[in-house]
């Protein structure tokens, strides 16, 4: 019930921020209306990173505690993360086309880093599908997720370094650079959109987690049922059920 309320609140928040970012906030002085894509684009990218962090952390917790619920969180994080990252890339492309004239360019490699992030996620999800046994899958996914997550900061910093070393001459003419008409409003809208998207993220994570738990429970029920079916089917000797101070070992009483 609380989740449903959260869902409504998130939807309302996004709707509100959409209106604000599309109609209320002034257009960028240099980039014009195209810049408006930036608000959801940045928010999505941030949530993509956050999701992967959650997946990696959940993986660590699984390895430590061996509770499959952590694996469900990891799976949710990866799938939701793919969503937001893909959206961020799409947004980046939509932004790039009018501003730079091309869908993709390489001088500002942040689009490439986000694409790498997507590649890491997709690899993780594909990798998960290759193992059926839940515990084994959780362990393997956890280590792949951890190593990928460790890589992400390196990717980020190496690319920032790269940008830093090639500043200025390559970013494009100064007339294309970001120049908000009202900087405080700009920042405020960014944060607002981020907050709205984060609410949506939390909602989606909860729902995906619940779904994963239901699937897990169903798998578990099947396993337990097969287990008891196997026990019932075999001609085993019955051992008396445990009495408070029952005998330690018995021979069969057929």
């Amino acid at each position: 019930m609380k989740t449903r309320i959260l869902g409504f609140v998130a939807a309302a928040a996004i709707a509100a921020m959409a209106i604000v970012s599309l109609f209320v906030v002034p257009a960028d002085l240099n980039q014009g209306d195209a810049q408006r894509v930036m608000y959801p684009h940045v928010a999505s990218a941030w949530l993509g990173y956050l999701s992967f962090g959650v997946t990696a952390l959940a993986g660590i917790l699984w390895l430590w505690k061996r509770d499959l619920r952590f694996d469900a969180v990891a799976l949710a994080g990866a799938e939701i993360g793919v969503m937001f990252t893909a959206f961020a890339i799409w947004g980046g492309m939509m932004w790039g086309r009018p501003v730079w004239g091309v869908f993709w360019q390489w001088e500002d490699p942040r689009l490439t880093t986000t694409a790498l992030l997507l590649a890491l996620y997709v690899g993780y999800l594909l990798f998960r599908r290759l193992t059926d046994d839940p515990a084994r899958r959780a362990t393997r996914a956890a280590i792949v997720g951890i190593v990928a997550a460790v890589d992400i900061p390196i990717v980020h910093f190496s690319v920032e370094w790269w940008r830093g070393l090639h500043q200025g001459a390559t970013i494009g003419s100064p007339s294309r650079m970001l120049n908000p008409a009202a900087p405080m409003v700009f920042v405020g809208t960014l944060l607002g959109m981020l907050a709205a998207f984060t609410l949506a993220w939390v909602y989606l994570m909860i729902r995906r987690y619940q779904l994963a738990r239901v699937q897990m429970a169903r798998e578990e029920a099947v396993r337990l049922e097969r287990l008891s079916a196997a026990r019932a089917a075999s001609p085993r000797a019955t051992v008396p059920p445990p009495a408070p101070h029952g005998p330690e070992s018995t021979e069969a009483a057929r």
């Binding site: 059926d132 046994d133 515990a135 987690y209 619940q210 738990r213 239901v214 897990m216 429970a217 798998e219 578990e220 029920a221 099947v222 396993r223 337990l224 097969r226 287990l227 008891s228 196997a230 026990r231 089917a233 075999s234 001609p235 085993r236 000797a237 019955t238 051992v239 008396p240 059920p241 445990p242 029952g246 330690e248 070992s249 018995t250 021979e251 069969a252």
Partner: protein
């Protein structure tokens, strides 16, 4: 054939002071949703030689592999020498030796090199002498410097047994030790079993064909379709299982 086989001394302690070699509680393992072991609760006494019997698919190999910590349990627990296989597998591994269907030998290395590598991994003291001795004990001294690639299945098995001799296990798990061996090879296994018994090592072995077990085994467990059908003799006993309790105590389904 040497008269005595060198089995590493391991301070095992007096019998009555040692914990049971193996205790399992509703140990179960599924593969691809299908139960290979459906809840086994056993106790094996230290120093006993116990045979695991039963038809194909009964779960004998799975039980051995669980105890060897090759695989982890799906449900249930087990202790080897008082150590939990789920929580302390590294400590269990120090005490257990396992002969599987596959021998885990490197084809491009010679018999001696394979054992030398194993000795380094196991931390065997005086490795070169022990390797030579092990090769002698299993009757492969003449082929010591031949590559394993050319070995027959029987010779590989012997070499794998030689590898076990390099360790100092207190629990030896043998999966079909007589398979692929000729008469000499089977006699070797009998000698090994005798040597282990004298050293107080617990041995758990599987066999399709109990008639072959010419050695004195202390007891046997018959598995059928993943559960214990019966136990016979000494050294092994079945324990009461929680899985047969009324459903009130069964694990509840977890839905958010």
């Amino acid at each position: 054939m040497p008269q005595t086989i060198y089995v590493s001394p391991r301070s095992l302690g007096a019998f009555d002071e040692r914990p049971p070699a193996v205790v399992t509680a509703d140990l179960a393992r599924l593969f691809a949703g299908s139960p290979a072991l459906a809840g086994v609760s056993l106790r094996v006494e230290p120093g006993a030689t116990v045979a695991l019997l039963g038809p194909n698919g009964a779960g004998k190999t799975t039980l051995l592999r669980l105890l060897a910590t090759v695989i982890r349990p799906s449900y249930g627990t087990a202790q080897v020498d008082g150590l939990d296989i789920g929580r302390e597998p590294e400590l269990v591994r120090v005490r257990v030796a396992y002969l599987s269907h596959a021998t885990g030998l490197y084809d491009d290395l010679t018999a001696r090199e394979n054992l030398a590598f194993a000795a380094e991994m196991l931390g065997t003291p005086e490795p070169r002498q022990r390797v030579s001795r092990a090769l002698q004990d299993v009757g492969l001294a003449g082929r010591a410097d031949d590559r394993v690639r050319g070995f027959s299945a029987g010779m590989r098995r012997r070499l794998a047994l030689g590898r076990i001799l390099l360790g100092s296990a207190s629990l030896v798990l043998l999966d079909e030790p007589y398979a692929a061996l000729d008469a000499d090879g089977m006699a070797l296994v009998d000698q090994l079993l005798t040597a282990w018994r004298e050293a107080g090592v617990t041995v758990l072995l599987t066999s399709h064909a109990p008639e072959r077990l010419a050695v004195t085994i202390d007891g046997s467990v018959v598995l059928d379709r993943g559960v214990v059908a019966e136990t016979r003799g000494h050294g092994v006993s079945e324990l009461p299982s929680a899985l047969d309790a009324p459903s009130a105590t069964r694990p509840q389904q977890v839905v958010s």
